[in-house]
Amino acid sequence: MIRRMTQIALAALLLPLAAAAAGVSIHATDGAFQVTGWKASVEPAAGWSSVFQVYAGAGDIPAMLGSYTVEGAVLTFRPRWPLTPGMHVRAVFHLSGEAPVEAVFDTPKSAPGAATRVEHVYPSTDVLPSNTLKLYIYFSAAMRRGEAWQHIRLLDDKGVRVQLPFLEIDQELWDPANTRLTVLFDPGRIKRGLLPLRESGPNIEEGKRYTLVIGHEWLDANGAPLAAEFAKPFRVVEAERTPVDPAQWRISPPLPGTADPLIVDFPRPLDYALLQRAISVDGVKGKVEVARDETQWRFTPEAPWKQADYRLTVNTTLEDLAGNRVGRAFDVDKFQEVTAQIQTETVSLPFRIGNQ
């Protein structure tokens, strides 16, 4: 008897829903989906999602996450997040015992913006040591994550693709804006004495020519391909295995009373990104520029130079193209004195402006 009463009660609840289903229609408005032509009364025991669901796509997929509200005679579903442009969406209203009411919607496609392009690849030079460790690819706009390794190719002088020269990290080493990707050559094929180097040889071989190719099919953050393929040809010279030595730098002090740049020239190119922050003039604010294929650091002060003694502070994290740091080679050969290490965090280089 109790069971029978429960059944009757449920039927009574469902009755108004079913009775009004014939004139139902589904609308999309302001990113939400509304059921009208039917008077929503009591929420079904299994929730509003048991009668109204919105699907992003086709096939065996779950309904979209979102929230339901009832205002007046309208049942509204708001997706948890704004729908992605260009989506095909299917909304289904289905009362028990009634034929389902379905509506499909296409969200507007995003307007195409200016095509994104590769602005520059560092190192700028076309002569790289065979133990080159890092490349930076700068894009003109934000790129899409998760597909970098499909689009970065290294070709030998016959146009044959070099197998796995890069450390393919699935997290991809982007900057926060997704406009710069750091690409590491496979360190297992750089470090001496390791199996990958013995099995496969170095990533790039001394005396040979290569071309780095960045495919135009790589999609930017808006889903549009790059404006054009990018190619960087280069030739490979002997490995660089000695630490960066600031004692070999040439400092050219400007004249006092001017705001001309202080110029520091290096005997070999250094890491572009680290040059932006690893060298500073103590107590002086100014702007850093890197020039001449990363063999020159220029510092323009905000205020004119005084006739005084100054000091350049170099962070020992500064690397060259092969990951050799100030005072520490990339792979330290403990049998050779040339790679003796500096343990301090910074190195100071004094210079004088005026009264030379």
């Binding site: 699935d170 590491l184 099995e199």
Partner: protein, 358 residues
């Protein structure tokens, strides 16, 4: 040293320890404003640790998932990326599944997902239950704490410097974080005490790789797992330059310079993705998902006896076999004592499934 007697994950803490940590986890309830959800790991008392690379932050989330289950049964979700995309109201090519983790108590599966693939992507944490139902873990009102492990870069650096979190694990009261810099070839492994206290960021540990007693290089850790040998806790770590090494947890002290003991070299083109340690038939094994060699099964017996490679003629230390049937494994986690969880497939279509440990 013999590892036969005791060999288990650090996550397998006793109930007493869990209760004690629960009371002192310093969690606040409110919005956990994740910029991104990357590497995942479970800690004590159902705390899910989430690596947030753009915010240089490790989050500790209380996912309120304490119902104990010895085994979650069998999971098989074909096209899991398509299902997740549909759930999030977007297209499959607009999401990235960044990591997976299994709650060791409930056996529910957690996934960190990016909704969107540009710089404005939204961080989402999802839970998959034993029936295969996928639901969102709401972050708007959740008990949580966090630690920022590096200071934001100075304005002069143009804000491009990022330390990408590649793996995290909870070991003995510390969250150990492996990170790769996008500028320096640094080798930062951090050990951050948990419960987090705002001021303690955890100092970096310099990890080096020694080759043939001659060459010494900085050696970033790509992925690692904790395990225990005769009451001595260690991590098994894969360097970016491919050697598989062992490091004692007692060595992971702030400011330390540590050289891992090489137990295997994996050869060219290998990109270790995930590892797990398990016991079968009274023996211990390491299962490792690898980019180019598929899934490798290595013996974990007497790791100590496989000395570092000392001559160029030697190929590897620990013997291994390749599990040919397991292809395109993107993530590999321990599900329960006899089962592994795989995220398997290519970018187009991925499946989430459990398999018996080989």
């Amino acid at each position: 040293m013999n590892i036969r007697n005791i060999f288990r994950f650090a996550a397998g803490l006793s109930g007493t320890a869990i209760l004690a940590l629960c009371a002192s986890s310093n969690l606040q309830t409110g919005k956990a404003d994740l910029k991104a959800a990357g590497a995942l790991a479970f800690g004590p008392d159902n705390i899910l640790f989430v690596g947030d690379t753009p915010a240089a932050t490790i989050w500790a989330l209380d996912v309120q998932d304490r119902a104990s289950s010895k085994s979650g049964g069998s999971i098989e979700i074909k096209g899991v990326n398509e299902k997740i995309a549909a759930l999030l109201g977007t297209a499959p090519d607009q999401i990235l599944i960044n990591d997976t983790a299994v709650n060791p108590v409930s056996k529910n599966i957690y996934m960190s997902v990016s909704r969107g693939r540009g710089p404005d992507a939204t961080a989402v944490i999802l839970r998959v239950d034993a029936a295969g139902k996928i639901s969102e873990v709401p972050l708007d009102n959740i008990a949580h704490s966090s630690v920022k492990f590096v200071d934001p870069p100075a304005a002069s650096t143009n804000g491009r410097q990022v330390e990408t979190i590649t793996a995290i694990a909870y070991i003995d009261g510390n969250v150990v974080v492996a990170g790769l810099s996008n500028e320096e070839f640094s080798s930062t492994l951090r050990s951050i005490p948990f419960p987090f206290t705002g001021a303690v960021k955890g100092a970096g540990i310099q990890i080096y790789h020694g080759s043939h007693g001659r060459f010494e290089t900085a050696a970033p850790v790509r992925t690692f797992i904790p395990y225990e040998i005769d009451h001595q806790k260690a991590i098994l770590a894969a360097y970016t330059c491919t050697p598989l090494v062992k490091i004692q947890v007692s060595q992971l002290t702030p400011g330390a310079k540590v050289e891992g003991t090489t137990i295997a070299e994996l050869g060219a083109g290998n990109r270790p993705i995930d590892m797990l340690v398990y016991e079968k038939g009274g023996k211990h094994f390491i299962l490792m998902a690898n980019s180019s060699r598929g899934v490798m099964k290595l013996t974990a017996e007497n790791l100590e006896s496989y000395k570092p490679i000392t001559a160029h003629t030697e190929v590897t230390g620990v013997p291994y076999e390749t599990i040919a049937a397991l292809k395109d494994v993107q993530r590999l986690k321990k599900y329960d004592d006899g089962t592994a969880l795989l995220l398997q497939g290519t970018a187009g279509s991925m499946d989430l499934r459990t398999i018996a440990l080989p």
